[in-house]
Structures are given as C-alpha cells and as structure tokens.
C-alpha cells in the first residue's frame, strides 16, 4: 500500500511544507538576484 507521504524528504513532514519551501526559495532567489543587480550595476 502506497502512503501519501511516500517519497517525502526527511527535512519536511508533509507535501504542503515541501511546496512552501520551493516557493520560499524562489522568493529568496529573487531577493538575492536583486541585491546582485543593484550591487554590481
């Protein structure tokens, strides 16, 4: 029997948390690239 949690990495406890992590990393990357643009332009 396959459980819904099958395949989850150990640092999250649900799929919802993993999706929030993916979106948070995106926001952080945009912030980081903004800093990069402003710093070197």
């Amino acid at each position: 029997m396959i459980k819904p949690e099958d395949g989850l990495p150990p640092f999250v406890s649900s799929w919802r948390q993993l999706y929030i992590l993916v979106i948070t990393v995106l926001v952080l990357l945009i912030a980081l690239f903004y800093w990069f643009t402003v710093t070197f332009e």
Binding site: I2, P4, E5, D6, G7, L8, P9, W15, L18, Y19, L21, V22, I23, V25, L26, L29, I30, F33, Y34, F36, T37, T39, F40, E41
Partner: protein
Amino acid sequence: MNWLDWIVLLLTLVLIVGYGIYQSKRDRTISSYLLADRSLPWYHITLSVMATQASAITFLSAPGQAYTDGMRFVQFYFGLPLAMVVLCITFVPKFHNLNLVTAYEFLEKRFDLRTRGLTSFLFLLQRALSTGLSIYAPALILSSILGWDILHTNILSGSAVLLYTVIGGARALSYTHLLQMGIVTLGMVAAGYMVVRMLPPQVSFTDALHVAGKMGKTNAIDFTFDLSNRYNVWSGLIGGFFLQLSYFGTDQSQVGRYLTGSTVGQSRLGLAMNGLLKIPMQFLILLVGALVFAFYQFETPPLHFDRLPVQKIQGTEFSGAYKLLEEKHEELQLAKRAEVIRLDEALDTDDKAAIDASRQVLSAAEKELQQLRSEAGDLLTKATGNATNDVNYIFLRFITDYLPAGLVGLLIAVILLACMGSVASAYQSLASTTIVDFYKRIFAKDKSEQHYVAASRWATLGWGIFCMIVAQYASRFGSMIEAVNVLGSLFYGVILGIFLVAFYFRKIGARAVFLGAVIGEIFVVVSYIRDLTAFLWLNLIGCVLVIAFARIIEWAWPQASKQLTDGE
C-alpha cells in the same frame, strides 16, 4: 583542438553511448520500453527532467546571451518552481493514477479522440521543429571546429544519440541522463573557474562582476512591468509560469520522464527538486557568460565570433570595408581597456565620482561597439549571402581560443552531451506519441506488445531522421535558445489551456474545448505574426483564450461532458 582534446571528447562520447546500451534491458512491453517499468527513484527524475530541458543550446547560447544582453534571461525561469508545485498537486497524481503512457491519453478519457488527436498533433509539430534546433546547436560547434559542412555535422550529432535511444528506451535514457548531468556540471564549474583565473592579477572576481555590471551585464532583475520587454520579473513569473506548466505538464518529452517514477511521491519529489535547482543552475551558466564578457575587457575579442563568415569575406569586394571595421574595433577596445583599468582603480579606492564617470564613458563605448558589431554582421551577411548571428559562437570561441588542452575537449563534450540528453528524450516522446496516440489507438489496435515495442523503435528512428532534416534549416534563426522558446510559446499556451479545462472546468465538453483550441491557436499565431506582444505572453494568451472560448461555446451550445474519476 589538439590530440588530448580529441581523446577526452571521444572517450566521453563512447562512455555515454556504451553506458546507455549497457543499461538497456530486453523490453517486452510498451510500458517497459517507454516508461522503464515505472521503477525509477526521485533523483533519476530530477536529473532526467533537467537533462531534457537543458539542451546544448542552454550551454552554448545562454553565455552568449549574457555577453550581449546581460543576465536578465534568468528571469525567464522564475515561473518554473511555481509550475512544479502545481504539477505535483494536480498533474502527477492524475497521470499516475490513470496509468497513462502519454499525457494525451488523458484527453480522450476526459473529452474525446478528436481533442486527443489535435493536442498530440500540435505536440508532434512543435517538438519535431524544436528538436531540429536542438540538433543544430552542437552541429554548429562541430562544423566550426572540424571545418565540415553543417549537413554532415547535423547527421553526426543527431544520429549518435539514436543508437542507445532506439535500443535502450526509457531506462537507457534515464541512466545516461544521470551521467550526462554529472559531466556537464563538472565541465561548467571548470569553465567558470578558468575564466576567473585568467583575469589579470589585479582584477578579482568581484572586480570582474563590477566591470561587467557597469556595462549592464549583471542585470539579473528588472521589476518594470512592460509587455514589450521580453525578460522582466513579471513576464518570467506569469508568462514563464504558463510556459513551464505547459512544457512540464503537457509535453510528452517531460511527462515521459516523471511517469517513470516508481510512485507518485518519487515523481513529485523529483519535480520539486527540479524547482529548487533549476534557477541557480541557469544563473551560474549566465554568470559564466558575464565573466567571459569581463575577461574580454582586458583581452581584445574578435569583431565577429564566428570564424567561417570572416574567412569567407576575405578576397571579396567587402574585405576592405570589413578590415576598416576591425581597425576601428581594435582602437575602441584599446580606449575602452584603459577606461576599464581606471574603473578598476576607482573601485579599489571606492571613488564614487570616478566610478560614475567611468560608467558613463564605458556605457557609451559599449553602445559604439555594439553598433560596430552590428555593422560587421550586416557586411558578413552581404558578403556570404547568409544571415549571420554570432551570439551562439561567443562561448565556443572563448573555449577554443583560451582554455587549456583537455578542458576544450571536455567542454565540447559537455555541449554534445547536453544535446544528446534533450534530443534523446525528444525522439522518445515523438515515438511514444506517434505509437500510443495514433498507431495503437487508430491504425493497429490489437497487436502484441512486442509488435508495439518494435513499432516504437522504428518510430524513434523515423523521427530522428526527420529532426535532422529540420536541423539543416535551423541556421535561419537568430539566438537559438530564443528560437526554441518562441516556437514553444506558439503552441504550449493552447495545449495547456486544453489540459486546464480538462482538470478544472468539469462542465465543459469535448466540442467546446476543441473549437476553443482551434480559435485560440489562430489568435496566438496572428498575434505573433503581427508582433502584438513579447513571446512569453503568448503562453498566457493562448491558455486564457482556450478557456474563455471553450466556456463561451459551452454556454451558447451546451453538450454533456464526460466525468472522470481516478483509476478510470
């Protein structure tokens, strides 16, 4: 290339093809041949979807794009993580639970055969043309290095991959993707390291970024909302989201990758990890391009990076004019280099007034140089009779002119491997759609599994040959990475619209979605021809039009729709 480069290149290619064949198993069913028996873990899926998306164009064209246009292209990928989340929630469980081999089977279950056929046809058209461009990219490299005709290099780069794709199917594909991504990462890290090491001793890594930045090459983020601007945060997040959702959710070359997952969870995790890794990877590739630009501020770059047309212009009536442009270019570069050194000194002392003054001078010089490059391109076009665009040659020329023996071979191998990764997936997806959605469904319904496996092998071979023919005509496009994405944007929005109606608009029936798709596609093509908007927005427009027209037609001319349950 010297003998060491050739050894590295040939060994790498033999290793990949041999490994692909070694991992092949005797496939007795179509699910085994096309989906590796749905048995692979998440990291296979992550690397396989990345290898499929990152073609040779990614490694060849993207650094050139950063060199000429800056790093703003990275914003194109901002919609990808969001698309991965939607795919994990909606598409992956639905496709897995219905035990599909191709994404288009789902459309017949939800609508009818006609809608499945239309969508499969749009996919085949778009994917075959895009794959031709993907083959053309490394063929260009071989043509430039070996001095061979592009026809022969097209055949070489398109057929090497056919061997293990035809024999090994999805399993061979997935295992070779793993190895390819490892070698590709190693090669690009080495290239990045070398370009920083080759900067003058007084110029640090951050100095190089400041130099590139002051001339507009570190423009990774632009928050301005402008529909005519190809790359900004909004076009990347919104237009890019629809493009990526359509690409990963409805393009069989990607759907076929994550359907090989052993469970829904493994497929989901594979895609989520792609959402985390893709943007940093693309940023680093563009960063290499910006660093190459910084490097060329201290070394004189060629006026035109493609050697062949420059050789051809010698001895023609245009050679004198080209020589004059080269002399002007040399003078301008020398003046610019002196200013770059002044800028570097100003950066060291943090002299803001001097930095601003240098920036203005350099910005004007850069514009003048771009103008010269454009004039040189026009002259070469007149002299050779062919359109010339050297964006795709910039990184290649840097590799062959400056990198040490062995590393040149490795980087040429990287570009070829990247091509093989994406082209292999494309061949297989074209074959699976042809066999599962047309041949098995319409023409030969009750044959044995072994018959379909054999037919899939023949279809792979046939599509391989067709894509190589398309590659022969690919030189007419400009930057290839943009050409591929423009082509995708013409079809992906409409295909995505069909799938979104299938998932989220349960009352809309087959007739309405079919007519909505036809009208939507006509609108998208007309918008593109009339240049009404930047191409990324076509994905959103196509998708919204299909949904809107389908709803209107359903409202005006209602028809009972099929209701689908998981496992149906």
